[in-house]
């Protein structure tokens, strides 16, 4: 039987290596699937998942996550970004992570933008916007742009058609665009 989050976290606190075994048992399939969406090959995906486990081991304690799955998702994303940086240094351009970002890049028109675009401000705007979305649309946004699933994969999770998700994404992006324009992202 799978352990509850609190029981696994207790193993982390006890520095019992069974914590990692149980984490892998409970979340391994999910993490592998998410990593596969974020990386371009299996090796990188495995590296991301292993890095996420290591990051969890190194941060718990003192961290005591409310939801282990949430925490691991965040760690995995960070590890995927590290893999991207490593690949860039090796002049390998990662495709999967950047592919959905084409849709977001269109929200900022103009090619002559200067460096005044503040990444932290954009993060705050996106955070605030995503928090304000209805639950399903919030789920669709994060599934598409954070977890990096295709619209078809997201549609399958929801049990709807891909077109339905595509249309919802159009609406979500339109809302984000409105806010970006208000904040002056209209260079």
């Amino acid at each position: 039987m799978l352990l509850k989050d609190e029981e696994i976290i207790a193993l982390f606190f006890d520095r019992d290596e069974k914590a990692l075994t149980e984490t892998a048992r409970k979340f391994g399939g999910y993490l592998k699937a998410v990593a596969a969406n974020m990386t371009d090959d299996r090796r990188d995906a495995e590296e991301c998942v292993n890095d996420a486990y290591l990051a969890a081991w190194n941060s718990i304690p003192p961290k005591r996550p409310q939801s282990l799955k949430t925490y691991l998702t965040v760690l995995l994303r960070r590890c995927a970004l590290d893999v991207i940086k490593k690949n860039k240094r090796a002049r390998r351009i990662p495709k999967k992570m950047f592919s959905p970002l084409d849709e977001l890049a269109d929200l900022i028109p103009g090619e002559d933008a200067d460096s005044a675009l503040d990444e932290r401000l954009l993060t705050d705007i996106i955070n605030s916007y995503v928090s304000s979305l209805p639950a399903r649309q919030q789920y669709i946004f994060i599934s598409r742009y954070y977890v990096n699933r295709s619209a078809a994969q997201t549609a399958k999770k929801l049990g709807v058609s891909k077109s339905t998700v595509d249309k919802e994404l159009v609406q979500i992006r339109a809302g984000l665009k409105e806010i970006l324009l208000k904040e002056g992202y209209n260079l």
Partner: protein
């Protein structure tokens, strides 16, 4: 800033999403997993047979041999500690539960608690089940007769191709129905303001009178989503101006704002109450009146004697399949509901399980190419009322066609005592615990093929059924 720089900007900004947002996402997905028909990517699911047996007919014709294996499905009676010694006969009727040794490939993996439920009331019965389906990237609203299974677009214009805004039903979402009147959100892509916002509206359409009516719209673009129905009321989210949770009375067209419960999201309805569930990881469910007032804690009903539902992956067969079992909380007293389950549905206060059988050793469920034909299968539908411990055979069905899996839209596949069962067996296989999909015979982790299986529509009172298929 060039395009690549913009993408990097968004890459880092999106990576900075707060843990609260991610937590909401995780919780939403875990809740989805409790719903029938969910197929989690990280869980072992049905593996279609990998063995092919093709017979090539002399003189240039091919034929596939199709035969049925005896489908052995049984239900174990609960055994108590005081049961008498098993005889050979009773052993066959009540086989021992599968081993729980981790090293055993047929081990149980109790992943799911059967979600607590809220009793549903009887509803007005119509002649059709409505649903959206994706045809070549266009959403088409279909109606399926519960009497004949005939499936046709709701749009009756014989010259309409349903793929442009001239069709009254184009871009419909969240289809609901009361009797033979359907309701849906319509996205009017043609009406866009200078900020890129789209205009959404809600319409009703009566199949018998062909009356089409817009019952909710604004002069300015707004975004509508997550529409649900309870009795005569439609509940939906509005984003943009006047945003919030609204309730529309379909008979009077009165719209009111519904009071949200901070830290909760709307989950469902029962007994003239709204049920809210916490968005965090802890907390009790809440119930309010139908306008969101007077919140109080509410305890859902827990299934009698059944707290776990299990998906078993049997690695001993050629290929893998899903079985659905139930047990008590400790994993004891397992009872197999159905050995090879390819469809599951919630039907009022019951669950429906559809088991289909075929010679998995000899024939693929997925053809190498979609046009190579559809598998015909027979099967059984079992019904498990929530307030009992026993599943019973509801009906045996013949000649169900499978060649893909079914997309049902945001709607409820039901009318009165008629319920549609989504069949989702065929398009995926398991590769190292990740779901992958066939795409014209080539394994592709991200490509998915949307084709329609038959929908089985059953009456949970009488056991009658029809098979419904959309023919383009």
């Amino acid at each position: 800033m060039n395009r690549q720089q913009k993408k990097e900007l968004f890459l880092n900004a999106v990576s900075g999403l707060s843990e609260d947002n991610i937590s909401d996402f995780v919780k939403y997905e875990d809740d989805l997993a409790q719903k029938p028909g969910y197929e989690p990517a990280f869980m072992p699911v049905l593996r279609v047979a990998g063995a092919f047996a093709l017979c090539i007919v002399i003189f240039g014709s091919l034929f596939l041999g199709l035969k049925y294996i005896e489908y052995k499905s049984y239900i174990m009676n609960p055994q108590t500690a005081d049961d008498t010694k098993e005889t050979e006969e009773t052993k066959e009727e009540n086989p021992e539960p599968a081993a729980t040794d981790e090293n055993d490939s047929h081990r149980f993996d109790w992943q799911y608690d059967i979600a607590p439920y809220y009793p549903e009331e009887d509803d007005i019965e119509g002649d059709y089940i409505f649903n959206e389906t994706d045809i070549n990237g266009n959403i088409i609203v279909l109606k399926r007769s519960v009497h004949t299974g005939e499936c046709t677009p709701v749009c009756t214009d014989p010259f309409c191709t349903h793929d442009n805004p001239n069709c009254r039903f184009h871009n419909s979402m969240y289809v609901k129905s009361i009797g033979n009147t359907m309701y849906a959100i319509k996205i009017d892509e043609g009406d866009v303001d200078d900020k890129g916002n789209l205009k959404n509206s809600i319409y009703s359409y009566n199949v018998d009178t062909d009356e089409y009516k817009t019952i909710f719209e604004k002069d300015y673009p707004i975004r509508l989503s997550e529409m649900r129905r309870y009795g005569r009321y439609l509940y939906f989210e509005v984003s943009g101006r006047d945003d919030g949770l609204k309730r529309l009375d379909v008979f009077t067209e009165e719209v009111i704002s519904v009071k949200r419960q901070s830290g909760y999201r709307l989950f469902g309805f029962t007994d003239n109450m709204i049920i809210w569930i916490p968005t965090g990881s802890t907390g009790d469910d809440l119930a309010t009146d139908l306008e969101g007032n007077d919140p109080k804690p509410y305890n859902p009903v827990i299934y009698a004697g059944r707290l776990h539902e299990c998906v078993v992956v049997n690695n001993n067969m050629p290929g893998m399949y899903i079985s659905w079992y139930i047990s008590d909380k400790n994993g004891e007293r397992e009872r197999m509901i159905i050995e090879k389950c390819l469809g599951i549905s919630r039907a009022k206060n019951n669950r429906l399980y559809l088991g289909l059988f075929d010679d998995l050793e000899k024939h693929p469920i997925i053809p190498d190419k979609p046009e190579e034909g559809k598998m015909k299968m027979n099967g059984d539908v079992y019904i498990l009322p929530y307030d009992t411990e026993e599943a019973r055979l509801l009906c045996h069905i013949d000649n169900v066609s499978l060649d893909g899996f079914y997309s049902g839209g945001y709607n409820d596949l039901k009318t009165g005592d008629w319920f549609g069962i989504m069949i989702r067996p065929t398009q995926h296989y398991l590769e190292e615990n990740n779901l992958a999909a066939y795409d014209d015979g080539i394994r592709n982790m991200s490509a998915e093929r949307w084709v329609d299986n038959d929908m089985v529509i059953v009456n949970i009172k009488t056991g009658e059924y029809v098979i419904s298929r959309y023919m383009e």
